[in-house]
Each structure stands twice: as structure tokens, then as C-alpha cells.
């Protein structure tokens, strides 16, 4: 037999176009840059440091949710209840803080609660084999209701309890952004370098094969949903610290859909087995910047929705064109 080495010829020198194509997420990057250029030409307010810091603060919460969702979706899972989990966490934490509990106890209780919610999702999905979409949509609805119940439909202020996190800055950047960056970095590391992360790719690629290869699929799935819950809890605390109050509609489905959109725009497959944190970061930034620009340009909210939808479509198509072009 011909030896493998003679067959694996070195690739011919890549043409500039091919080299350009091999930059990951090029399409998405191009759309993002185009929007940034457009925005800075149209309004001076966009590149104003205060505005940029504001954008960074806003996207931080979505980024934390999207990080957990990326890992989960890579493993073929889905959690629609992360937004609802955020709502419950903010509600519970706001009530506790306003009733005089210490910050430490409040954080511990609300994060534990969000992990529990995640584990329940995981258990339902793993043991009953209800489709994740259905199971977590049900918990999402349930959690939204619970959140309203906890704050009794009112707005609960926490004064300046969490203001160091929510409004503080280090080296000129919001503290929230540091938290988000840390979460993204750790998730990226886990996905690439740990067995747990590689298991997720294997499970998403073919669950039967993963199981037969000695991967503890049940444990991994529970952990993944638990992690999604924990990150929802963290995102809830971050959101509460930024808004300094929990009101009806904080978190919930709107936030959830933004996170799902960001992850999917970033190239993570809904079918599992594929996804990167890099793509998710671009997706989060893209959605954050678009929302900000539309606000700055004072475009009516009807047109805002239409434009967000259009950007979503363009980005998704751009992504797909690139991955097709490779063959």
C-alpha cells in the first residue's frame, strides 16, 4: 500500500482569497465592522467613551448567558429557561437584599437556587427524554411566573448594595465586563482543553458513540444544565447590580432570545457538535452594537425590531456562505 505520507501532499500555496476565507467568522466580523463604521459616520455619540462603556456593560450580561448556552448547545442541549432563571434570581436577590440579608448570603442563596433550576432541567431532559426545547420552554414560562410572584408584580429597589459590581470600574472598564470576560475565557478553555468540554462536542456529535466510548453522558448532561443554571444566576446578579432594582420584565424571554440569537449567529449549530466561544462573542457584540446604534439614531421601536431581524438574517447567511465556500 502506498504510504500515507506520500498521499497527504502539502496543500498548494493558498491564494489570498482562500487565506481570507480561512479567517474564522469572517462574515460576521465584516458585518460588525460595517455597522461600527456606519454608526461612527452617522453619529458622534457612538464612539464617545461613555457610550462604549455603556455598551460593554449591557452586553456583559448577555455574554455570560451566551457562554453557558454555547457549551450546552455544542452538546446538543438547549435551555430556554435561562432568561426566566435570571428573572427569578434577580427577584429573589432583590427581595433578600431589601429585607436586610447580607450580600454574601444573598449571593449564595440565589446562585444555589439557579443551579437547582438548571439541575431540574437537566434531570428532566436526561431521564425522561423530553426534548430539551419543550422541557425548558415549560420551565421558562413557569419561572417567569415565579419571578412575578416573588416581587409581587412591583419594582424592588436594592439601593446601592451591589453598586461596586454594577457601576464600578477598574482601569476604566466596567467591572461587569471583567466578570463576563472571565466567564468567556474560562468557558473557552473548558471547551478546548478539558475532557469535559471535549465530551460536550462528542455528545453533540453522536450521543450513542459518546456513550459507547466511555463518556458518562448522564453526568455530563446534568453538569451542563447545572452550569447553564449557575451562569444564569450569575447573569441575574449582574443584571440586578446594573439596574439596582428588580421589576416585572427584568430578564425573561426577551433576554433569552437575545442570547440564543447571539449564539446561533456565532455559528453554534442548533443540532449540536459545533460551536466556538469566539463566534458567540462576535454574536453578542453584534446584537449589542446594533441595539445601541438604533437607540442613538433615535429610530422608532418598530423599525428597531425590523432592523435587528434583518441584521440577524444577514449575519446568519454570511456565516453559512463562508462555511460552504470551504468545499
Amino acid at each position: 500500500m502506498t504510504s500515507p505520507s506520500t498521499l497527504a501532499k502539502p496543500k498548494p500555496a493558498a491564494s489570498p482569497l482562500a487565506r481570507l476565507r480561512s479567517i474564522p467568522h469572517l462574515g460576521l466580523l465584516a458585518v460588525l465592522i460595517a455597522i461600527v463604521i456606519f454608526a461612527s459616520v452617522r453619529t458622534d455619540a457612538f464612539l464617545n467613551p461613555n457610550n462604549l462603556i455603556n455598551v460593554a456593560r449591557q452586553v456583559s450580561v448577555v455574554a455570560v448567558i451566551a457562554a453557558g448556552l454555547t457549551l450546552l448547545m455544542v452538546a446538543g442541549g438547549m435551555d430556554f429557561s435561562m432568561g426566566g432563571n435570571v428573572a427569578v434570581t434577580t427577584a429573589v436577590a432583590a427581595q433578600m437584599l431589601s429585607h436586610g440579608w447580607s450580600t454574601a448570603v444573598t449571593l449564595a442563596v440565589s446562585i444555589a437556587l439557579s443551579i437547582a433550576v438548571g439541575l431540574v432541567n437537566g434531570a428532566v431532559v436526561t431521564f425522561t427524554r423530553v426534548a430539551p426545547f419543550v422541557a425548558t420552554l415549560a420551565t421558562a414560562t413557569l419561572l417567569d411566573g415565579v419571578a412575578l410572584l416573588v416581587i409581587d408584580g412591583m419594582s424592588i429597589s436594592i439601593d446601592d448594595h451591589l453598586s461596586t459590581l454594577g457601576n464600578g470600574k477598574t482601569l476604566g472598564l466596567p467591572n461587569l465586563t471583567f466578570v463576563a470576560a472571565l466567564v468567556l475565557a474560562v468557558t473557552a478553555f473548558v471547551m478546548r482543553y478539558t475532557t469535559f468540554g471535549r465530551d460536550a462536542f462528542a455528545i453533540g456529535g453522536n450521543e450513542d458513540v459518546a456513550r459507547l466510548s466511555g463518556i458518562n453522558v448522564v453526568r455530563d448532561k446534568l453538569l451542563l444544565y447545572g452550569l447553564a443554571g449557575a451562569l444564569s444566576g450569575l447573569a441575574g446578579i449582574m443584571l440586578l447590580s446594573r439596574l439596582a432594582a428588580s421589576s416585572p420584565g427584568t430578564g425573561g424571554l426577551q433576554l433569552q432570545l437575545t442570547a440564543v440569537a447571539a449564539v446561533v449567529i456565532g455559528g453554534t449549530s442548533l443540532a449540536g457538535g459545533k460551536g466556538t466561544i469566539g463566534g458567540t462573542i462576535l454574536g453578542v457584540l453584534l446584537l449589542g452594537v446594533v441595539a445601541n446604534v438604533l437607540n442613538l439614531l433615535q429610530i422608532s421601536s418598530y423599525y428597531q425590531q425590523i432592523s435587528v431581524g434583518a441584521v440577524l438574517l444577514v449575519a446568519a447567511v454570511a456565516n453559512l456562505m463562508q462555511s460552504r465556500g470551504k468545499h
Binding site: T195, R198, G205, R211
Partner: protein, 495 residues
């Protein structure tokens, strides 16, 4: 001689800068079985995909009835009468056999599907070909062999003047393979041009009228089947002679490696017993879809048997637990690599190390070292790819099989279940895999071979247990029986 119905002229095709086909020209004539032969990765499936419109060539032309076809699509190919059963089974696993057969062509009155007609037409298509499969069965519940038959039936029913069969007999037992061959001859006599791909040389020599051999994407020989022989074909395919002979094996040790006692599982296994000593290869041979195809599920722990025990090295294994099966040192290599063997989107290196890393309890992965750790296995099993480390879904079928074997046999097993280990593998690789399996016995591994190929059993096994309807009906020492006697035993009950 009748004029060719389909001509391929100077076709080339590259993937990512590496050539899979180079300037290939072939003609296919009505009423002829035209076999394509070549090693894994030679480009057979690529050529077939170009003919059936699934891929577009980089250079070259296709002519149907003398008319040049530019930009052939699968739909247009079908319209000019080219139908294809691809190498990978492409049934919709959640639909019934009848729906699959009639897919895209459902009889309807107005916009309502007429389900009676769907069932009846599909069932007739099956019975016409002598296939005993219930049209109401769900495709996913069928064995791979049955799925192949359904796909063939679907393409035959649609009619067409060119029928392409890409390794239709690769995972079939002797009976089912014979059925397919009979069918091929019948269609040929009706004037259909058949394109037939197989790695079984004797099968091709019996069946084909004309043979084209590919090597590294180029035609190395083309002519009438009667002008060549086994030796010549091997040389054209591989570039040298290949010998694969049973080595003289020292008598196995007296220690029992695998012991199966009174295993029962539905209609598939009925009080099944077998003992495999360390260093011994015992084959379980039966028609595809019979007992031996259930052994994988039961031994791997994917499925809990109704009753019975399995012991590895004298220790009973908890039934229905994958972790326990792996911990016992048993490695089960599936015959269904797509569904149960590999993760298509992951690279070769990752697939090769998938099980080993988990068994070693490795927690962190250094990507720089991944290639280094996978390299010896890739070399031992001769995995050939055009680019260095593609996702396994881009490998040719035979190379996927080699990745699968490397994945499991590289984990220092103490006992192994091999299910059709050379499914879809070329002659040269088959010889290499056989000697790797021989090597396993040298290390004292107990090998249970679940096979549907009598040739493979004769080449590898020390003993063979013949099963039918889930029961063992006979057992032979392989060196005291001829291949024909063995075949007769599998087909017709005990001698």
C-alpha cells in the same frame, strides 16, 4: 456492441487542493455490469457522485446518449435515467419502508396521499425483487442489510437506464449478497447499465462484464472481466501483490477470555453459549440480521439481555452497563460505524483517541500533542486522507473503518468483539487488518468475531459457531472444514 448510454470524458476533481480524480474517462453500456475497483480513497465514490450529479467535476464532461450534460444535478440525473444507491445508507430512519420507497413520488389524488397505494406499490416493489421485508416496518428498525435491500428496491422501482450500486454487498451476509447479485443480473438482462462497486474480487470477477480499476484517482486498468484475474486486479489496484494467509497459530492458552452462558434476547438469541480462550479467535457466523448482530448491543452494555451471563477473564460483567463492559477489558467494535462507531464532525485524531483518553481518565488535552499521540495508531492502521486531519465524515468509507478499528484496538484490550471488521475495506488494508487481528491473539487477547462473511471466518477464526434463528446449530474447527462446507452449513442448517 451497443453504444454507451453514459460516457465520462477526462473528469478531474479536487478537494481542498488535493486531487481525488485525475483525468478519468469511462464508458457505461446498456446490458453490461461495469465494476469499479480500487483501494480505499481511490476515488470510486467520488466518480459515482459525479455521475449521479451529487458533485460537479472540476474538469471534463459527462455525455448521456451522446448529449453533453453540463451541471448535472441529482434531479436532472434522475430525469435522464441515472439512479444511485450511495455508499452511505440514506433512508429516512423515522419513516416506514413504504414511505421511503415512494419518497418524492407519493401517489396522490388531488393533494391527498393515497396510503393504500403507497403500501401496495412499495410492497410489490419489494416482493418483485424477492425481498421479504414488511413495507410497514420503520426503516430505523431494520438491519443494515435490510436497509440496503430497501434502497435498492427504491431505485429499481423508479426505473432508469443506469443503476449505480456503491458497495451494496459490503455489509451483507452470503445469502443477501447472492440476492443482490441475482437482482443485478436480472436488471442487466433487461438492458440496464449497472455500475457496481465492491472490494470482493471474486464477486466482481463472477458478476462483472467489464472492469475499470482506479488508483489514486487515475484509471490504471480497463477492460473485459474475462481478460483479467484476481492477481492482475490486485496488482492494478494496489501496485504490488498482496498475500494474506492464515498464520500458523500456537494453541491458545487454556484460560478462558470470554465466556457467554445461556444468553437470551428476544427472537435474536436463544440460550446462546460460547467460550473464547485467550489468544483464540472464535467466529459466530449467521445470516446478517441474526444473532451475531445482537452480540454487539449485548456485550457493549448498550442493551440488557433478557437473561444469561457474560464473563470476561473469569469475572462476570454487569449486564446493560457500558462502563462495566469497558472496565472488564472488553472492547466492542461495531459493524455500523456511522451510527455507533464514529463522530462524523470530529477529526481523525480526536476519533482515534476518543475512547483511549476517557479510559485513561485524561482531564486536559494539549492540542499540540494530540497529533503526536494519534500518529502511531494512524500509521498502524494506514488511515489515508487527502488533507492531514479532516473530520472523519470526509474520509472514504474504508478509511473510516480503519479509524474505527484504531480507536478500539489501540486501547490495550484483553478481549475483543469484532463485528464485520473489514466492512468496506480494500484488499491491501484487509490483509493488514487481518494481520493486526492475528497480532492481537499473539498478545493473548480473546477475539470473538461476529461475521457475515464466510471468507473472513476462514481466514481469521480458529473455531466457528454457526447460528440460525438465534440458536447455535453447529460448531467446527476451521482447519477441518472447507469454505463451501461452511457456506452450506450456514445456508442449510447442520451438515
Amino acid at each position: 456492441m451497443r453504444p454507451p448510454v453514459l460516457r465520462v470524458l477526462g473528469v478531474s476533481k479536487s478537494f481542498g487542493g488535493a486531487a481525488a480524480l485525475r483525468n478519468v474517462s469511462v464508458e457505461f453500456r446498456p446490458g453490461e455490469v461495469h465494476a469499479l475497483m480500487g483501494m480505499n480513497g481511490a476515488g470510486k465514490s467520488t466518480l459515482v457522485q459525479i455521475i449521479s450529479g451529487a458533485l460537479n467535476p472540476d474538469e471534463g464532461l459527462l455525455e448521456v446518449d451522446g448529449h453533453t450534460q453540463n451541471h448535472l444535478t441529482p434531479r436532472r440525473a434522475r430525469r435522464v435515467g441515472i439512479s444511485c444507491v450511495p455508499q452511505r445508507r440514506e433512508l429516512v430512519m423515522t419513516l416506514t419502508v413504504a414511505e421511503n420507497i415512494m419518497l418524492g413520488d407519493l401517489p396522490a389524488s388531488g393533494s391527498m396521499v393515497r396510503w393504500n397505494r403507497v403500501r401496495a406499490t412499495a410492497q410489490r416493489a419489494l416482493t418483485d425483487l424477492g425481498i421479504a421485508i414488511d413495507a410497514d416496518a420503520v426503516a430505523g428498525d431494520l438491519t443494515v442489510a435490510e436497509q440496503t435491500m430497501v434502497e435498492v428496491a427504491r431505485e429499481v422501482r423508479r426505473g432508469g437506464r443506469v443503476l449505480i450500486l456503491d458497495e451494496p454487498t459490503a455489509c451483507l451476509g452470503p445469502e443477501a449478497a447472492a440476492q443482490i447479485r441475482e437482482l443485478v443480473l436480472r436488471l442487466r438482462d433487461n438492458g440496464v447499465a449497472i455500475v457496481f462497486i465492491s472490494h470482493h474480487i471474486s464477486e466482481v470477477l463472477h458478476l462483472a462484464d467489464r472492469i475499470t480499476v482506479l488508483r489514486d484517482g487515475q484509471v490504471t486498468w480497463a477492460g473485459l472481466a474475462k481478460e483479467t484475474d484476481e492477481k492482475g486486479l490486485v496488482r492494478d489496484m494496489v501496485g504490488r501483490d498482496v498475500v494474506s494467509r492464515r498464520p500458523v497459530r500456537p494453541a491458545g492458552s487454556p484460560d478462558v477470555g470470554i465466556s457467554i452462558r445461556r444468553l437470551c434476547d428476544g427472537r435474536f438469541l436463544d440460550r446462546f453459549d460460547v467460550d473464547v480462550r485467550r489468544g483464540e479467535i472464535v467466529a459466530v457466523l449467521g445470516p446478517a440480521g441474526d444473532a451475531q448482530s445482537r452480540l454487539f448491543d449485548l456485550l457493549s452494555g448498550r442493551r440488557r439481555p433478557d437473561s444469561g451471563t457474560v464473563s470476561i477473564g473469569g469475572r462476570a460483567v454487569r449486564p446493560g452497563r457500558i462502563a462495566h463492559s469497558l472496565a472488564s477489558g472488553l472492547r466492542c467494535v461495531t459493524g455500523d460505524r456511522r451510527r455507533l462507531g464514529l463522530i462524523p464532525g470530529l477529526t481523525i485524531d480526536e476519533n482515534v483517541l476518543l475512547a483511549q483518553d476517557r479510559l485513561e481518565g485524561r482531564r486536559l488535552h494539549r492540542w499540540g500533542r494530540l497529533a503526536e499521540r494519534a500518529a502511531p495508531l494512524r500509521d498502524d492502521y494506514r488511515v489515508v486522507s487527502l488533507v492531514r486531519n479532516p473530520p472523519v465524515e470526509q474520509l472514504s468509507g474504508g478509511n473510516q473503518q480503519k479509524v474505527l478499528l484504531a480507536k478500539w484496538l489501540g486501547t490495550a484490550p484483553s478481549a475483543v468483539l469484532l463485528e464485520d471488521p473489514t466492512n468496506g475495506v480494500d484488499v491491501a488494508a484487509m490483509a493488514e487488518i487481518h494481520s493486526l487481528v492475528d497480532g492481537l491473539t499473539g498478545q493473548g487477547v480473546a477475539v470473538l468475531l461476529a461475521s457475515s462473511s464466510a471468507e473472513e471466518v476462514m481466514r481469521l477464526a480458529d473455531r466457528v459457531v454457526v447460528v440460525r434463528d438465534g440458536r447455535r446449530i453447529a460448531e467446527y474447527q476451521v482447519d477441518r472444514i472447507t469454505r463451501d462446507e461452511l457456506l452450506a452449513a450456514t445456508l442449510g442448517g447442520a451438515l
